[in-house]
Structures are given as structure tokens and as C-alpha cells.
């Protein structure tokens, strides 16, 4: 049974209004499902509140009305009735979703879909939720601190928050984050608790891991090796920067369900192997050597046969300003192949920095686009006629080919830029 604090009981009793009551009812059911005894207060929530695909919009139009308030009530709060949804009570942001606010037609969206998108966005802002529109809130202004209780969606952001920062969040879902925005509560389960954060599996790295592609492949391997468990990685001799952590974590969260990793001597809860494991004994010790590295590269390239690349997608997870600087530099005044499109995805706030620095213009002058809010997997949108895509992200390689039915190559950012310029895939394991 869940023990409720006075303020939680009051919300459940309806004293905060019907929406908070529905939110609390949902959170209590969720806590019971987890066999969790109490809630923790949170003032840092990242979700996709009330956002609707055209399917949800049309479905709810036929069942009780399709406006923002109805979808927030019926889908997000899993309520059987529509309730008036008030402004959020806790610091909340909206993650990725929708379409680029300028290039939506290029992405294949209709005027109707765009109008819905703009209306939803206005409603999100009206409810006091920040429009970050990114899978990387930590690059757009929401950076938690060590020990902060968060309620975040987006597996790549969750693993970054837990592992790199030492913040505390489970991989929440749309319904739990929307309920938390109204109540400031989330079940005190899993990664909110010290005992749950210790390592379970040892990953011993036996090859040098330095470039971003190597971090992506090690992450992809780690996810397969430990599934949803907590790896402790040793043998890393090169200090990873933010984009390497971003690619490693996103890959591990895609091939497995990694929500927290420790790197001995690098991440905040792993000053030593002993501290990282706590009272746990490693269930398994797994090595990552040249054979495993080769295997990951081949696996990530198993969806490619034709070397005629018609689309290059970068920015999964959303590109940092460092990556936009790199991409603009690699293009170096050259032009894309007339047969190839280049879309680089990022957040609105990073794009604004990129605009100011001239990187957006450099990419556009080459024939590419810098897009925000979404990515090809989330929007299921690729340039018209795409058959073969080139990617530098293990996560995107995991999802995109299956989701939109295209071939995919995986390589370095430079391999991808060269493919965009020549129209040919020439990538090889570096």
C-alpha cells in the first residue's frame, strides 16, 4: 500500500481540483503497480504533455472532443472524463515532437497538421510548460544537479541525467510526467533510491575508445550485453566529453534499456569500482575487445546494401553546438551531391546559437538544412523518395530502418558528410 503525505491525500480527495485529483489517482495506481510505498517531490519534469499525433486527435474527436484539454485529460491523465487542466505546479518542459516550425512542408506535413502543431504549442506554453522541443533538454537550458529528483521521459536524456550528472530519474512515460507536472509527485522507486543505483554488470574495455563512433558502438554493445541492468565500465583511458556520453548513453538505452551507467574514475557515482558496485557483486563480467567492436560495426551496418546514399541524417540525439560547428567545418564551402539530402536536427535554442555563428547558413549554402523539434524517427519523415540513409548515430540506426522501411549505413560524422557530398557510401570501420 502506498503511504500518502497530507498534501498527496488532499489532492487525491479533490482539494486541488479535478485535474490534480485524476493525476494523483493515476500516480497511486502507478505506484501500486511498482509495489512502491511512497512518493518523492519533484520540481524538474520533462515530458510530452498533451501533444497529439493526428491519430490521437481524430480518435478523441470521435470520443469526447479532440482539443488540448481533452487529450491531456483522456490520454495523459487516463481519465474517463474531460477535466479542466490548470497551469502546471512544477518546473516542466516539453521534449521533442511535432515538426520543424519553418520547414514543415519540406518534411511532408500538411497545413492542417501544422495548424494543429501550432495550436498544441500555444496550449503547452499557456500551461506554463517550457517549449524546449528537444531530446536533449540538458543542452537547451534544463541541467539538473547531482541528487536532484527528476521525472524525465526520453531514454537518452534519462541515461544522461542519471549517469553523467548524477540526477535521479526513472524512464518515465507520457502519462506519469504529465501527472507529475500537475502534482509535483512521482513514485519513490528505482533510481530515486540509493540502493537501486549500484552497478550490476562489469564491462571491461580492452580497446581504446576515443572517437564518437567508438563511443556509439561501445554503448550499443553495452545495451545488448546488460539489457536493462546497470553496467560499470572499466578500462576507459580517454576522457569522454559531452557528445561522447550523449552517443554512448543513447545507444545503450536503445539496444538494451540502460538508464544508468557508471564509468570508473569518470562519472560522479563511480570514484572507484567498489563504490560503483556498492554491496552488489557483478552478475557477469563482459569484455569489449576488437572482435566485439567489429561485430557491433557489422550489426549496425546490416541494413545497408546499396551504396547510393540519398539522405544523410545527423543530430540523434539532437546536435550540440560543438557538432554543428564540426559539421559546418567539414562541409567547408563544398556542395552536396544533387542526389543527396542532408538534414541536421537540433533544439531551437542550439539552432539559434548556430544561426548567430553562421553554421546554419554554411550548412544551407552547401544544400543541407538545420531542423529542430524532431528527428526522422520521431516524425517518421525522410526526404521524399529516400531509399538509403547514412547515419552517425547508433540509436537512429537502431530505429529508423525498421520504422520507415529504408536501408541504412552507420559510420563517422565525416563518413556521413562525405556521402552527402559524393552521394556514395564509402565508410569503413576506422
Amino acid at each position: 500500500m502506498v503511504k500518502l503525505a497530507d498534501d498527496e491525500q488532499a489532492m487525491l480527495d479533490g482539494q486541488g481540483g479535478p485535474a490534480k485529483q485524476k493525476a494523483m489517482e493515476l500516480l497511486v495506481k502507478y505506484a501500486e503497480a511498482l509495489n512502491c510505498e511512497d512518493f518523492v517531490n519533484t520540481n524538474n519534469i520533462a515530458g510530452v504533455p498533451g501533444s497529439s499525433t493526428l491519430f490521437l486527435k481524430n480518435y478523441y474527436k470521435e470520443h469526447n472532443g479532440g482539443d488540448y484539454n481533452a487529450i491531456f485529460s483522456l490520454f495523459d491523465l487516463d481519465s474517463d472524463t474531460v477535466v479542466p487542466v490548470p497551469k502546471v505546479s512544477a518546473y516542466s518542459c516539453h521534449l521533442q515532437g511535432g515538426m520543424d516550425p519553418n520547414e514543415w512542408a519540406t518534411m511532408g506535413y500538411t497545413q492542417e497538421a501544422y495548424d494543429h502543431f501550432r495550436a498544441d504549442e500555444a496550449a503547452v506554453a499557456d500551461h506554463g510548460i517550457q517549449l524546449m522541443k528537444t531530446c536533449t533538454p540538458y543542452l537547451a537550458g534544463n541541467v539538473p544537479v547531482k541528487g536532484e529528483h527528476c521525472a524525465w521521459m526520453e531514454s537518452s536524456a534519462v541515461v544522461f541525467c542519471n549517469s553523467v550528472i548524477g540526477g535521479r530519474t526513472n524512464t518515465e512515460g507520457r502519462e506519469s510526467t504529465s501527472a507529475a507536472m500537475l502534482t509535483g509527485k512521482i513514485p519513490n522507486w528505482g533510481f530515486h533510491r540509493d540502493a537501486f543505483r549500484h552497478g550490476t554488470h562489469a564491462i571491461e574495455v580492452e580497446v581504446p575508445i576515443e572517437s564518437m563512433i567508438d563511443w556509439g558502438m561501445l554503448g550499443y554493445f553495452t545495451g545488448y550485453a546488460v539489457e536493462e541492468n546497470i553496467p560499470v565500465i572499466t578500462g576507459v583511458t580517454y576522457q569522454p566529453n559531452l557528445i561522447r556520453h550523449k552517443h554512448f548513453g543513447a545507444a545503450a538505452a536503445s539496444s538494451g534499456g540502460v538508464e544508468l551507467y557508471h564509468m570508473v574514475g569518470i562519472t560522479p557515482e563511480a570514484p572507484s569500482r567498489e563504490v560503483a558496485f556498492g554491496n552488489n557483486r557483478p552478475v557477469e563480467t563482459i569484455k569489449y575487445g576488437l572482435t566485439e567492436r567489429r561485430k557491433m560495426y557489422d550489426l549496425l551496418n546490416s541494413n545497408g546494401t546499396s551504396t547510393d546514399v540519398d539522405y544523410v541524417m545527423l543530430g540523434c540525439p539532437h546536435a550540440s553546438i560543438e557538432q554543428l560547428w564540426e559539421i559546418a567545418g567539414m562541409l567547408d564551402g563544398r556542395k552536396l551531391s544533387p542526389n543527396t539530402h542532408l538534414w541536421v536536427f537540433t533544439s531551437r535554442s542550439v539552432k539559434s546559437m548556430s544561426d548567430n555563428n553562421g553554421y546554419t547558413k554554411a550548412i544551407r549554402d552547401a544544400g543541407g538544412l538545420v531542423l529542430t523539434d524532431t528527428c526522422s524517427a520521431i516524425s517518421q519523415s525522410v526526404p521524399k523518395g529516400t531509399k538509403v540513409v547514412a547515419l552517425d548515430s547508433a540509436k537512429q540506426s537502431h530505429y529508423l530502418p525498421a520504422m520507415v522501411g529504408i536501408e541504412a549505413w552507420f559510420g563517422t560524422t565525416r563518413d556521413c558528410i562525405e556521402a552527402a557530398i559524393t552521394g556514395k557510401w564509402k565508410g569503413e570501420l576506422p
Binding site: Y30, A33, S155, G173, G190, E227, G257
Partner: protein, 148 residues
């Protein structure tokens, strides 16, 4: 009692913990692999779509889904929630690894769900077995499918 020793009329009883209450029965669909929600299933058809998944192309609609649990994107609950709207959801879920994703997904799918079993359901239940789930009482009854 081993599975091999059973004849067609034998039933096996498992005890577990209620995740979401309710009573139902149906045919088992068993996989030893975890399932991704967003990007791993098609919510319009109730079908697994993940490349390299042993259930790729298989529908879980109206089945008693027996599996280790959830993996992948945080869109898990929303993807399975949508199967409730498209009427392609499983009838019940029996799983072995608890995660925030599957707990929330079970709640919003509103289907009987159980975990923490006294015997591993993945060892006992095979695809095609008839399974009665009483999540309120924490009891699962498995009738092995007829052998050819």
C-alpha cells in the same frame, strides 16, 4: 513436475503479485526477449516490428503476453496505451522484470497484469497454452496445449 511429464489435461498453477487487477483468459504468446514500445511495435495493428526480434510480424492482440518485460524508448506506455484505443492490446501481461515503463504501461492499458511469480512463467508457459489470469487473487492457471 516437469513440463514434459504433463498430459493435455494437466494444469499448472503459478502464484504472483498483482500489478493491475482483473480476471481474463486466453491463448499465450510467449517470448524470452524484452519488447520495445515506441519504435518496437505498430500500435495500429498490435504487431511487433523490431528488426531481429523473434516475434517480428507477430500480433499480440487479445493474447496473454508472457515475456521478460519492457525495453527501449520512454514512449513505451504511450505506444501500448494506444493499442487500447485501437483495440489491439493484449488481454493480459505476465512478466518477470519490473520497470517503470511496464508498470505505467500496464496501468494505462487497463489489462490484468502480474509479476513476482513463485515459478518462472517463461519456463512453464509456451505459445499456444491456454492461460487463466486472476490478477486480483494473484493466481495464473496454465493448461498446456494439446500435443499433436
Amino acid at each position: 513436475m516437469s513440463v514434459e511429464a504433463l498430459t493435455r489435461n494437466d494444469t499448472i498453477v503459478l502464484h504472483g503479485r498483482k500489478v493491475v487487477g482483473g480476471v481474463t483468459e486466453g491463448e499465450a504468446l510467449v517470448t524470452h526477449q524484452t519488447i520495445s514500445g515506441w519504435g518496437g511495435i505498430n500500435s495500429m495493428t498490435g504487431t511487433v516490428i523490431e528488426t531481429r526480434h523473434e516475434l517480428r510480424g507477430v500480433s499480440f492482440k487479445d493474447k496473454i503476453l508472457v515475456y521478460p518485460g519492457a525495453k527501449g524508448s520512454s514512449g513505451w506506455s504511450a505506444a501500448f496505451h494506444t493499442t487500447r484505443l485501437t483495440k489491439t492490446a493484449p488481454k493480459a501481461m505476465l512478466f518477470t522484470v519490473m520497470t517503470a515503463k511496464i508498470a505505467l504501461g500496464a496501468v494505462v492499458m487497463r489489462i490484468p497484469s502480474m509479476t513476482d511469480f513463485d515459478r518462472d512463467p517463461l519456463d512453464v508457459i509456451e505459445t499456444g497454452d491456454w492461460v487463466k489470469v486472476d490478477a486480483d487473487r494473484g493466481v495464473v492457471e496454465v493448461t498446456k496445449k494439446a500435443r499433436p
